[in-house]
Every structure is written in structure tokens, then in C-alpha cells.
């Protein structure tokens, strides 16, 4: 892995792709060149003012292209993401990246991505890269309701696949959770990203079917590069380990899963 870089990235585009959710494109050649699927960046507005986000926020890389462009799926959550979702073309954001450990794909198994909400972001990149290398990729994507579902045309364009859609209320796609009624016939390798309860359900599923599972976890971060120890998760051996440098992608067996 290449060392992370710090750079000001120009906003190239920002469009609404679902309720409270934007697809933000940045010009960031260094990061684009070095990134692997599953990695993230710290995205912030720099030191010149103290409005939120004052601390940068972590975002999974959703896409990159050969022209130095990066794409992010950013959902408004609190004050920091409110400001970030309002950026306009020409604005600049301070980017640190690429950061963290990416997904590792075994070439001999199909890839099944389990995405909850904005947990879809890394799988757009995973799918684009894996398919490029001839891997078969499926994405099962769940949201609470249909209005939160990310523009499916864009998903197809970036990921190269049509996601299998689930919503909690059945307002779009099949009613149910990401892990409901899954076809695991080809014994795929599982990749999961989404809210904690969903990750725990994925762990149970993987254990039950004895399938390999990698998860991308979310924890509050300070530095993103391993200095502050802010972003810890509980390892399988009961130690607090840093999710920014040892993760955010972990093999599910590396972590303790509270039930």
C-alpha cells in the first residue's frame, strides 16, 4: 500500500441521488491512483474555520477513474455531513487518503456484497474493480424505505451490476432485510458494510453457512492514520484495536461480536 497523501481536492460534481444523499465527485489524482476498494479517506474543510465538520469525517471511496476522479456517496447525518453535502463544484475539500486496509478477494469464489444504506459505497468500487478482473459480483442492497434508495442507474453505471434491492417497508424492491432469502448456492465470499445490527446478522449468517466474511466497520475517528487511538473496535482476543489502520475492513473472525 502506498503512503496516504494530504491534498486539497476540487469538487467536480454534487448531485442528489436519494433523500439526504449525494454523489460527490472530487478531483484527487494521488488518492485515485493509489486507492483500493474498501479504503476510505478523511474528508474535511481544513483549519480556516471551526464550523462542523471541524474534524474531518471518514468516507469510503465509492469510485475512482483513470482521470484522477473519486466518487463518494455521502448521506446527511449530523452537522458535519450537512455541510459536506452542500459543497458545490469549484469548492475544495481537504482529503487525507487513501486510508485503511482494503477488501481482499479470493479469485476462486464469487463475491456477494451485503450493503445496508450508505454501506453500499465501498461495494460500488469493489464491484467495478472485481468485475474488471473477471470476478462475478452480486450486490444485495437494503434501505429502510424506497425514497432512500440510491439512484439505481448510477449504481449500474459505476458498479456494472444491478443490485438486488430490499427495503424494510417493501416500498421499493423486495420487502425485508439484506440477509433475508439469500441465494448462497455458489458459496460466495461475503463482504458486508452497514449498520451494526446488520453486520451482526451477517456474522450469524456466515457462521451458519460456514462462509468467509469480511466486514467494513464504522467507528468515530479522530486522525484516520493511527495516531489518536480514537477508532477502536474489540478484537477477537478482547483488545481494543484501531479500525483506521487495522481496518476498516476486518475478517469477521478478527473481531468480538456482542450479541
Amino acid at each position: 500500500m502506498r503512503a496516504p497523501a494530504r491534498s486539497w481536492a476540487r469538487v467536480l460534481g454534487n448531485r442528489v441521488v436519494a433523500r439526504d444523499t449525494r454523489w460527490i465527485e472530487l478531483e484527487c489524482p494521488d488518492v485515485a491512483a493509489a486507492a483500493s476498494p474498501g479504503q476510505f479517506v478523511m474528508m474535511g474543510t481544513g483549519l480556516s474555520d471551526v464550523a462542523a465538520p471541524f474534524l474531518p469525517r471518514p468516507f469510503s471511496i465509492g469510485a475512482r477513474d483513470g482521470d484522477g476522479r473519486l466518487g463518494f456517496l455521502v448521506r446527511e447525518f449530523g452537522a458535519g455531513t450537512r455541510r459536506l453535502t452542500r459543497v458545490e463544484p469549484g469548492d475544495e475539500l481537504l482529503i487525507l487518503g487513501p486510508l485503511g486496509r482494503p477488501f481482499h478477494l479470493s479469485p476462486d469464489r464469487a463475491v456477494l456484497c451485503l450493503a445496508g444504506g450508505v454501506g453500499l459505497a465501498p461495494f460500488l468500487f469493489v464491484s467495478a474493480e472485481a468485475r474488471h478482473e473477471g470476478c462475478e459480483v452480486r450486490i444485495v442492497y437494503g434501505e429502510r424505505s424506497g425514497d432512500r434508495v440510491f439512484d439505481l442507474g448510477l449504481v449500474r453505471e459505476i458498479a456494472g451490476v444491478d443490485p438486488e434491492l430490499r427495503t424494510d417497508d417493501g416500498s421499493l424492491g423486495a420487502r425485508g432485510l439484506v440477509i433475508d432469502d439469500l441465494d448462497l448456492g455458489d458459496r460466495p465470499q461475503l463482504l458486508a458494510c452497514g449498520p451494526d445490527p446488520m453486520l451482526r446478522a451477517c456474522v450469524r449468517l456466515a457462521t451458519e453457512h460456514d462462509l468467509p466474511l469480511q466486514v467494513s466497520v464504522e467507528e468515530h475517528m479522530g486522525c484516520g492514520v493511527g495516531t489518536c487511538q480514537g477508532c477502536v473496535v474489540l478484537s477477537a482476543t478482547g483488545e481494543w484495536i484501531k479500525s483506521c489502520t487495522e481496518g476498516p475492513v476486518f475478517d469477521a473472525t478478527e473481531l468480538t461480536w456482542q450479541t
Binding site: 493511527g226 495516531t227 489518536c228
Partner: protein, 312 residues
Amino acid sequence: MADLSQRLFGVDFQSPVLLASGTCGYGEEYADLIPLERIGGLVTKAVSLEPRPGNPPHRVAETPGGMINAIGLQNVGLDRFRSEKLPWLSENLHDARVLINVVGHSVDDFGAVVSGLDGEEGFLGFEINVSCPNVADGTMFGTDKRALSDLVTRLRSLTERPLVVKLTPNVPDIDAYARICEEAGADGLSAINTFPGMLIDVERRRPVLGNVSGGVSGPAILPMGVFLTWRAAAAVSIPVIGIGGIRSGDDALQYILAGASLVQIGTALFVDPAAPVQVQEDIEGYLRRHGVERLSDLVGALSLPENLPERG
């Protein structure tokens, strides 16, 4: 070129800008992003006698104009620090000065860490973090004058290296604590550590931090840090290192004018790792613009109004 260097603790600091404890790991983690050999130096994450597991998450969150953290002093402990972390510092840092931040729950704890490292290479001296509760009586060394005096006196007897005591901000009389450290033999003071704070997730009606409360840092505390540095520096003749909320050359200069000989940058590193070099360049620009030859001419060079009115 204006002269940013300062001679302190018997050595030269090429710049007054250091990285603050707990925000730069053991140096190595920032080596790709910060040209460490071009700045004044760094202070390591706290080292304790035994490894510390640290607190459950969340450990950090943003607060208005700053952040709050409750890391819980997670660290590898003396032995692994000596065998795994110190060698990197020793091999890679020559022009940047290294202070080792030390914590303990008792005078013996502190003493063991200081003695255990004193004979090693790769660092200049110790920064003693007295914000940790004393297990024996529950108060902190940093808020108990007698305990602080005993601690510094003992550590002074154990090392001839520079001994810097890092002061806690939440006392009404930091000048008294500063004098106690000086009298007990400290070579310098750092001011300030974080302020106790708490954030509540109102939707879930529970604290945001796993540890319930934590320490507030960042720009929000800048005016408090400048004030406490001014009070501490006025009380003693040993050098003071100013800390708290620095993110620009002007911020650093406020501390220096208030009496700080060096400054440390913490939270701002997370926002932009380019901050230390930028701060250095801004200070240099200031010296040039104002025709000040050496930085030391600015230390404490604050003009006060003639008849200072009563406070309150």
C-alpha cells in the same frame, strides 16, 4: 531568514513547534505526512508502567469548535515502548527533539517509567502528565499540591534529563501549581492539558463517549490556554510550553507573547497534518515582517496596560 530556534534545556530546538502528546502517536504514524525532522519535535503518547487497554468506544467526537476524547491512555506500556517504539524515534529523529509523556497512578509508577527509560537513547527528556487519578486517594496529582510536589521531587532525584510537568487547566490557581513544580526541580512546564467535558446523545439519552466524560481540546480552548500560559509563565522562571487550540501562526504567537518558549499542536493535526509546518512558516513570516531577529525576543513580549483594573 529569521531565526526560529530556541536554546532550552541545554539543547537547541530548531523551531518552537512540537506535536502534542496523544495526537502524534509515537511519531512513526505521521512520518509519511509530516516532515518531522523539520519541526521542533514531538511528545509521545503517554507511557505507563503496565500496558493500558484504554476505554470502550466512542472515544472521540466533535464539539463546538473542538473535540472531546476519552482514549483512556491506551498504550503499550514501558517494556514494549522501550523495545518497539523508542528505537524508531532513536533512528529517525535527530534534529527534532523528543519528550516522552509519562503517566502513572502512584509516585512509584511514574518513577519506574522514568528510571526504566533514563538510560536509553532517542529522546531528550520527560513530560510528566499529572492529569491521571492517583489510585491511592482518587484525586489527581495535577490538582493536589502536596502530591504534585512529592512526585516532582522524587522524579527529579531519578533523572538528570529535562523534566517538564504538564499542568491541568481546571484549577483556580495555576500559578501556585507552576511554582510548586519549579521549586521541586522541574526544568519546564507544559500548559495546558484538556478540560473535562461531556457530550450527551439526546436521542438515545446516553453519553456519546464510552467513558461518559472526556477531555476537550482544539480551538475552543485557545483563550483559556493563552490565559493559563500567561499566568504560569509569570509565576516561574523556567520555560513554559504553550498548548491548546493552536491552528495558525497567530495562535502560536499569542502563546509566545504570553510567555511560552515553545508550543505544541494537537487537535489541529487531525484536521490538517500540514499545520505544524504552516504554523512555523507563519511565525517566520511574522518575524520577517516585524523585523524581529530571533524568536526568543518575542517570548513574553506582551505590553500590558499601565493601570490594570481589577478583575471580575
